[in-house]
Symmetry: C2
Subunit: 548 residues, 2 copies
């Protein structure tokens, strides 16, 4: 028997309509590529998203067509988020930090009809356009005064395009499982693969972002969106914020510490979100200010800092608290997960913990968001205990998690019970806090037991002479694999293999001890700055460990 | 093109499973009918809901079968919420305050298979059971020690039933639009009509309850659920609380001021929810304590009081703030709306308002919850402006709003665009705050303009001699209808028609002035305490107004 409730689809258009109707005056502030800070509102954004919707329809864009962006964080990018998805087309956010060959592959694979790009990327696209034969035209996200002379095919000025169309448009209504946006993962192996979100998954994920135990976004918030809008729908913030009328602040391309600090201060930011690298730059700037003025400047409104993308260091979590009384919400997710999976909020029993014990909780990646099922398994798929010690393959399931990649790339990605294997290795403690211990392909399998390469690296970089460390598994006749530690020494620093191993000894389990240490001049990295262990494993494939 | 996200249905079972997994130790505290306060947890509740699920399956309950409750607020009632819905049966919460004939009608109309009832209602059901031939048996919600001798057909003790079954049960998976629960509206005219909720509508509504701008429920909350669990799924709290692991406190049948106060204090309640009557009793108790001890006792943890069901008086909103620093979230909804429609939270611009101006905002019923579309129209269905002045028929639309009553009673309830007419008359101001001005059938239509009977009544009760007032429209040859004011004077108080009209004169528009005043000994009320204006209109149908 079906319930007798209205059959109202969950559509992204309802978000911007709600924001315009109930939070019409609420500000959206952007540092622009052209220079000045621009201020708009949800009411204006809805009007312009509708103008853009009409423009896209006039350009022949139909339900399901892909429209790409290559852009920094700003109000125009967010207008495109809504303008494209709300008419039933698919917003494809391209990560401009990828290698040009990857961008070319992605735009061709997605069959993007148009690319909307910031001024910054005009030269790149001019070079690449001949290799993007399916792209019908390029829209430069600027006004007529700043529109460059360009060889881009069918180049159009964004403001001219938008202003040429009416804001009268009734958003179309369609099935909520219709595709809304597309984002490619930048894997360390193989070609990038596209994750195709739906209106339903986006709205449900938006609800999650508004929960107090997730991101806790409310109408009182002013949110600096540091995480790029080309990353997994920028963690859902553009949707959750509209759902409750939060003020949004976009930093444009100025990610330096000073620019970020000024926005945090001037826009009375209560919550911000980004990857650890950005916060390192912020603290470098603050240290410099302190050296000049004798004190760290205040940010009295900042309450929450959401850190994800890679693990937030303990010192960073502590420093946000010490300097600003801001709580770091350590988060974990994946492009394949829309991306929210876990968030590190405290339970009532943690509220009065001394800071160091609280940090023990906060360094973990947090607890599953309602809507995401989480478990860890061994290589046979058997579920492992949630005891905070056992670590296994992290698997996830739920309505905003991928069921397969665009055009079937990568084949079947779910098991018989719909579990998606994340490729991360993690522990789950009895309270449900998850901690990533490794990537599944990097974990070292020694005599049937697993050794975390990340844990070993973290200990090794604690040695004063070590600048960077990598641990990989190398084949071993008896143990299957044993750890090999690769070290880049700090400039001018000295440390022998024996010294390093001696340093590690009291810090790790005896059977985790690397079988050898090799000193190298540098380690290989991916475009997004992660250690490229595939290359290391290849390089040291035939390495003979002592005693092997 | 469909998105490539997992096809995971939104099911109520995921709520209790999440709470058990991630907030297993979190408490659920109940004042029991048998006497003592009982403490359980989400983990235990999930186990017992599964035991109950197995019991129901063994009793032959199938997908879609209705299982009724006739019970106060307690942990067993909440276990039944989950046990019944999670196996795909339909939880039918019967309001025991209805007249016996209505209860009989409802149970027969719903075709309830079993009725779960508190000890309190054993005598009532013993009398009524012969008129409920389809009910196969009765489950008395108590333990074996308190199980009464009863003539009830196939009477079973709840604890005996639950304990006889295993807690091993994998909740079935089915379509999310499957019916989950049923609640009848107690209209003032005609038979009660059933609203049939779905798993989808319940989970979506649960998300809304967790939003900071709606009820703001989080894992830090301790919630005293004063609103009866037989009212429109108790405003969604049993679902939202499980979604984020909030502590729950149930008052049983002890709704007196002292009992409620003690729970608020002892269970460190941060949020509570109920109708205005209960809070009047609480304040009467507090006044008495103050008379005895010289001061109002403290409730340092109480932060939010959700008031709905009928309008919260300004003085009540102010008093919660003055006495406890607790913010009243004025809410409006309907059984037909799951029930959340609007909630009266502040916007950032209101935060620093002086208290009296803030109360001007808080006396309104609040702003639309994301997921609920709201508009006001005239009798021709034309949308009226959101200027805070125009008042019209309030219409709603959205995924947790009814599409029609159970078994088609009442016929088609949506217009061509899916709008549901609430029967309320309201204003909407430019910020989106809605204020109920009347019931549509009570509004007085005078010469093409509308006069709010409620506004007139509110002004009239301001007169020191007036105990209660009712305004109805009486036929008028020239104006179609004109207002007639009926007054119950306070014991021993005197006031003439002229004095009353003189009192009203500076307070209302001239053309709103009642054409006559009639003094009566008492006014008729419904079972739930609302003015029964149908009866008044009948009684005064042929009343001849002066000058008519």
């Amino acid at each position: 028997m079906r319930g007798l409730m209205q059959d109202a689809p969950l559509l992204i258009s309802s978000l911007i309509d709600y924001a315009a109707q109930y939070h019409g005056e609420r500000e959206i502030v952007s540092r622009t590529i052209e220079g000045p800070v621009q201020r708009t509102s949800y009411a204006a954004m809805q009007r312009r998203a509708k103008q853009l919707g009409n423009a896209l329809l006039s350009m022949g864009i139909k339900l399901g067509d892909r429209v790409a962006t290559l852009a920094w964080n700003g109000y125009r990018h967010m207008e495109i988020y809504y303008g494209v998805s709300c008419i039933g087309a698919v917003l494809h956010t391209i990560n401009p930090r990828l290698f040009p060959e990857q961008i070319e592959y992605i735009a061709n694979h997605a069959e993007d009809q148009f690319i909307f790009l910031d001024l910054t990327f005009v030269p790149l696209m001019e070079q690449m356009q001949d290799r993007l034969p399916k792209v019908r035209g390029f829209v430069v996200m600027t006004d007529e005064a700043h529109m460059p002379k360009t060889s881009l095919r069918n180049a159009v000025c964004y403001e001219k395009l938008v202003n040429a169309h009416s804001d009268r448009l009734a958003w179309p209504v369609f099935d909520e499982s219709t595709a809304s946006s597309l984002c490619y993962t930048s894997g360390t192996t193989g070609n990038p693969k596209g994750v195709l979100y739906s209106h339903r998954s986006t709205v449900l994920h938006g609800f999650a972002g508004c929960m107090g135990d997730v991101l806790g976004i409310t109408s009182s918030d002013s949110i600096l969106v540091v995480v790029p809008l080309f990353h997994a729908n920028a963690w859902g913030i553009p949707y959750s914020a509209a759902m409750c009328g939060a003020k949004l602040v976009f930093p444009g391309m100025a990610m330096d510490g000073k620019s970020i600090f000024e926005l945090l201060r001037d826009e009375r930011v209560t919550m911000t979100a980004g990857v650890p690298t950005v916060w390192l730059m912020l603290f470098q700037y603050l240290d410099q200010v302190k050296a000049e003025t004798g004190k760290i400047p205040e940010l009295p409104h900042l309450k929450r800092v959401v850190i994800g993308g890679s693990a937030a260091p303990r010192a960073m979590i502590k420093r946000f608290w010490d300097d600003f009384g801001a709580y770091v919400v350590h988060a974990w997710g994946m492009t394949e997960m829309s991306p929210l999976g876990t968030t590190g909020n405290l339970l009532p029993k943690h509220k009065d913990l001394p800071i160091e014990e609280r940090l023990d909780v906060q360094v973990k990646q947090g607890r599953a968001v309602y809507g995401v099922e989480l478990r860890i398994t061994d290589d046979e798929g058997k579920e492992l205990p949630r005891d905070g010690k056992a670590f296994g393959n992290l698997q996830v399931r739920g309505p905003w998690i991928t069921s397969g990649y665009f055009k079937g790339e990568g084949g079947k990605v779910l098991d018989a019970d719909n579990w998606f294997t994340t490729g991360d290795v993690a522990t789950l403690d009895p309270d449900g806090y998850m901690q990533i211990t490794d990537r599944a392909k990097d974990v070292i399998k020694s005599g049937g037991e697993w050794i975390s390469s990340i844990d070993l690296e973290n200990e090794a970089v604690g040695h004063p002479a070590v600048a960077e460390a990598a641990v990989i598994g190398v084949a071993h006749p008896k143990w299957q694999e044993r750890p090999l530690l690769l070290i880049v020494r700090k400039k001018g620093a000295e440390a022998s293999k024996e010294e390093i191993l001696e340093f590690l000894e009291p810090r790790i389990a005896k059977w985790w001890m690397p079988d050898d240490v090799v000193f190298v001049d540098e380690l290989p990295h991916t475009a997004t700055g992660k250690l490229l262990k595939t290359k290391l494993r290849e390089q040291f494939r035939d390495y003979k460990l002592p005693g092997a």
